[in-house]
Amino acid sequence: MDLFNNLIFGFSVALTWQNLWFCFIGVFLGTLIGVLPGIGPLATIAMLLPITFNVPPVAALIMLAGIYYGAQYGGSTTAILVNLPGETAAVVTCIDGYQMARQGRAGPALAIAAIGSFFAGTVCTLIIALFGPPLAEVALKFGAPEYFSLMLMGLVAAAVLAGDNITKALAMVVMGLLLGIIGTDVNSGMARYSFGIPELTDGIGFIVIAVGVFAIGEIVLNLGETEKRAVFTNKVTGLMPTKADLKASFWPIVRGTGIGAFLGVLPGTGPAIASFSSYMIEKKMAKDPSRFGKGAIEGVAGPESANNADAQCKFIPTLTLGIPASAVMALMLGALTIQGIAPGPQVMTQKPDLFWGLIASMWIGNAMLVILNLPLVGLWVMLLKVPYRLLFPAIMAFSCIGIYSVNNSPFELYLTAIFGIIGLAWAKLDMPPAPMLLGFVLGPLMEENLRRALLISRGDPTVFFTRPISLGFMIATALIIIIMVLPAVKARRAQITDPSTPR
């Protein structure tokens, strides 16, 4: 069978000593930084990107993927132990996970989070292996109109599902598109919005924006707030969940995986949506919903599986279509480009070792995470006690080295500083930065495909509605917008996305 051959080939790539080592470094660094508060997966990957420059492409991608799910995972550890979500998706885990920890059941909570994530990771590895190749086949038939419609759908989905205010999120997408224009126009060779600065004719690097907004801006923001962290210092004892725990968690894990995988394939949706949805469903299905919020293990098992499934399935559109499904995936594609590989459906056929090796490594990485996290949880707890006043200079040092190493240019650091200030302004004005980053990455691609599509159709804009695949994307885009402005959904969304979430 093809699937098996492909997977075996993947494992043969992922199981070389070199790739295993990079996978380990990735999940280790990811967990390490994910546990630290105030820095999410996006900034972590942006910061650590230079580490992969001198590494072969397969190993580089394996390591970055490891950092990604390691950071996700670290986020839930802090959610359970200190009620502090390392990233937005872990907000849900705080609700019941922290309650479990307070009842002395931190061990089972951590264990079930690990088991759920591992299960979700395994299922999603299979899903990618099954659906990746046929999707890439379809994608090879895409022309400019299809790409444009698909990206439009992704951007709208990203905006609609990102925050609690659709107008602002859409506005930020447009902001990103406009920022993406800076640089030389590919069609005419004209420098646009470069203000006569030669460095700007190459455009702004997306790492500059990511680190500027998500690392530097975040530091300035955090320093404005008073530091309050009640570290839960009790020792974690009794890691093993009881039989009853496992039984109660089984279906939530399966359902969470399903929800996460489904939402994961849609470009634009973040892992937070997956974990919130899973939590809501578990609460609805529970015999006694009042237990939720008071340490129900289902409230940890479901969302944790969902967010891991979502994170992993984001690789499907990213790898098969070459379109980043989230801001983090945009960084992954950026890494691919730095390695000299053009992202797109052809990656699978031209670089099978990269595709299948990466998939196999995800499963291995998830297994490593279980081993790394359960016995070593004491170490991570210790890390939590590092005060922020020591942490942020270190984050700054690594960020600065990372930025400088991209182009060996001090100019990038000046830009980063500017985006740090802009990032702070956005945060204070309640503008969600994640849709902006996606718009920024997709902007140039969208413009190019729009121009090409209209050139082929001789300026006839109906081309987007007469080709079946493109029409499908357009209808889906319209549906997303319609559903989200329906009053019933609107009220529900407000409830989901705003449980006064700590940043």
Binding site: P50, I51, F53, N54, T167, K168, A171, V174, M175, L177, L178, I181, N187, S188, M190, R192, Y193, I216, I219, V220, L221, L223, G224, E225, T226, E227, Y388, R389, L390, F392, P393, A394, M396, A397, F398, C400, I401, Y404, S405, N408, P410, E412, L413, Y414, T416, A417, G420, I421, L424, K428, L429, D430, E447, L450, R451, L454, L455, R458, G459, P461
Partner: protein
């Protein structure tokens, strides 16, 4: 509640969009617009700039309605020090080398915090500099002079 624009979050948010959009439109006037069939380099930016202005107006209207204030505290010190430290690092990497750049960056950045303990920061600075040198220069082979003109290149 009386409308007060001075601390109105969405008023300023909308204003930011309108100003950005207007600036974007103003600059893009010089770029050939073209037609839908053959879009010039000015087509996309101009359309986006108008969208920015439209969103700006919409967000400003929200501000008139909801009167949300800008939340949280500010640290003016952090706002000045953190970007300045970033810029200094870039400058020193170019002029002085990897080690001096880090030796300046870390304590400089630390000043942005509320607490500054001299011994602690000194240890952090030395420790992080050694670690970064081993990791990035020795380990990953990034080609930067450790101290310019003296050590490295």
């Amino acid at each position: 509640m009386k409308f007060d624009w001075r601390n109105n979050r969405d008023f300023f948010g909308g204003l930011m969009y309108i100003v950005t959009g207007a600036a974007g439109w103003w600059i893009a006037r010089d770029y050939p617009f073209g037609s839908a069939l053959r879009m010039g380099p000015g087509y996309f930016p101009t359309v986006l700039s108008w969208m920015m202005i439209a969103f700006g107006v919409a967000i400003m209207m929200m501000g008139f309605k909801n009167n949300e204030k800008i939340k949280g505290n500010w640290s003016i010190r952090a706002l000045i020090v953190v970007p300045l430290a970033t810029v200094t690092f870039g400058y020193l990497m170019e002029e002085a080398g990897f080690i001096p750049a880090l030796l300046v960056l870390i304590p400089f950045a630390a000043v942005a915090g509320r607490e500054f303990k001299l011994v602690e920061i000194a240890l952090l600075t030395v420790g992080l500099t050694i670690l970064s040198t081993l990791m990035f220069i020795k380990g990953l082979g990034l080609p930067y002079p450790l101290i310019k003109g003296w050590w490295g290149y």
